[in-house]
Amino acid sequence: MSHSPARSAAAIAGIGTTTYGVHPGQNSYSLGSAALRAALDDAALGINDIDGLIVCRIPDYQRFGEMNGMNPRLAFGLQGQGRMSGVALELAVANITAGYMNTVALVYGNDGKSAGVKYGGLKDTYGSGGAAQWFPFGMTSPGAAHAMMFTMHAERYGTRAQDLGMIAKTFRDHAALNPAAVMRMPFDMDDYMAARYIAEPLRLLDYCLINDGGIALIITRADRAADRPQPPVYIRGLGTSTVLENSSLPRDDFWRPALQAAGDASLKMAGLSRDEMNGLMIYDNFTPTVLFALEGYGYCAPGEAGAFVADGNLALGGSLPANTHGGHLSESYMQGWNHFIEATRQVRGQCGQRQIPSAQNIHYLCATPIASSIIFSDTP
């Protein structure tokens, strides 16, 4: 049977991160540079082995390349939105599959904590960049937009606050096993329900954690990855789809058509079924997106994700462990990039106490106006 030429054409040969937290005196360039050096060390490669550079949230690719003494064949930057992590990975895979590139460095740097980045208020640009037109109505912040989508879900399907609480609590329990996580103190459902509202019905513990940090991945041709010291983690399946039309207001379809298309494409490329996934990495800027992802990517029927998470399926030891690092909610809001790192570590078997037994296939799900579905695998 023939399959997509992109299936496992590329693999992750190296990963690198800084610590996550507050890094005064650092900026996205220095954090990205540190992560890049760590990723190159992990891959046992040098800066001159990189022929493609994609930076994300680092304002200028030229300054970054200059700082790191690089002259790759191709270099560019992507916007600092979380949805761009999946786009960056897809561009790396596409270029490698097409034979344009052999080794691509993806570098992410985020100094949002030290820079005092606010996602709500007068500097908000969420949506289509037209957030300001809603300020007279008091509407601002991606958290509030997700709160609105949750009211739609809750009132249509009976989804409960406790379901969101279970997501937050499960990921915090995972973070307790992860020394790199920023928030590791477990909490119970009473603590969750007692947390203050930010944009009701969302509470503080439904929100991700803004921090500083840098992350880099070295993506290389699969045959070359096999020669590197780390076991290759193949990008076995990948799908991207968008829903930009009417996307600046909360959509009552929860982006489902786009998620479905991206998910199906990635599974078809990988030649795998959902049953063969050993774990999930779910983009979790706010707890409700976990529900939207589970339903949109076909792990739950529409309306059933609340009951699915309440049953403990996402916990280590459950049927489909998710965000074993703690996710954006408890490890750090590294905009999808730390999910790629955790997926790689799980497939390599490097997760210690939080290791999923025989984690051969890990599925990354991102529910945003750009839907990304990526299957990381130990087998091409």
């Binding site: 509030a144 009211t151 509202y197 930010i198 944009a199 009701e200 207001l249 909360p250």
Partner: protein, 154 residues
């Protein structure tokens, strides 16, 4: 002199003050926005929305192209002063000054299909909305020469 940083509680207290302290002003539409037929019509107590001349789709805010049929032909039409709630949230964190706290924001759909964010009318701020709730517009002056359509349960 820097203005003090107002907490949500101070903002609410100031609004409740019967006199003396001028209430804090929420953000206003820009001058350019105020000149659009939507905000102009609001001053006359009407809801006026841009509509495509070719496929009749309504859109808010105004845009140079119809996202439905890609036509650039458009005009403005008055729609009934009613709406239905599609989603809602209630801000407990004050991102802006001058709102009654906690501050409810509605996602509403107008007759004709345009969607926008909106607020509850004065005296109805504590209503807990639900998806599907029917609304009636009221027109409130939020600043000199700026009138905003707000909504109460119908």
């Amino acid at each position: 002199m820097n203005a003090p940083k107002h907490s949500q509680f101070q903002a609410a207290d100031n609004q409740a003050e019967p006199g003396g302290i001028r209430p804090l002003q929420p953000p206003l539409p820009t001058q350019q926005e105020r000149e659009t037929p939507f905000w102009q019509a609001a001053r006359q107590g009407k809801l006026r929305i841009q509509a495509c001349l070719d496929c009749a789709s309504h859109r808010f805010p105004d845009a140079p192209v119809c996202a439905h049929c890609l036509s650039t032909n458009a005009h403005w039409v008055d729609v009934p002063p009613t709406a239905v709630v599609k989603a809602w949230c209630r801000f407990h964190r004050a991102y802006f000054e001058g709102f009654h706290m906690p501050h409810t924001v509605l996602l509403i759909e107008l007759e004709g299909g345009a969607r926008m964010y909106a607020n509850l009318a004065s005296g109805h701020e504590d209503v807990t909305p639900h998806v599907g709730m029917k609304l009636q517009a009221e027109f409130e002056e939020i600043a000199p020469e700026v009138t905003m359509p707000k909504f109460r349960p119908a």
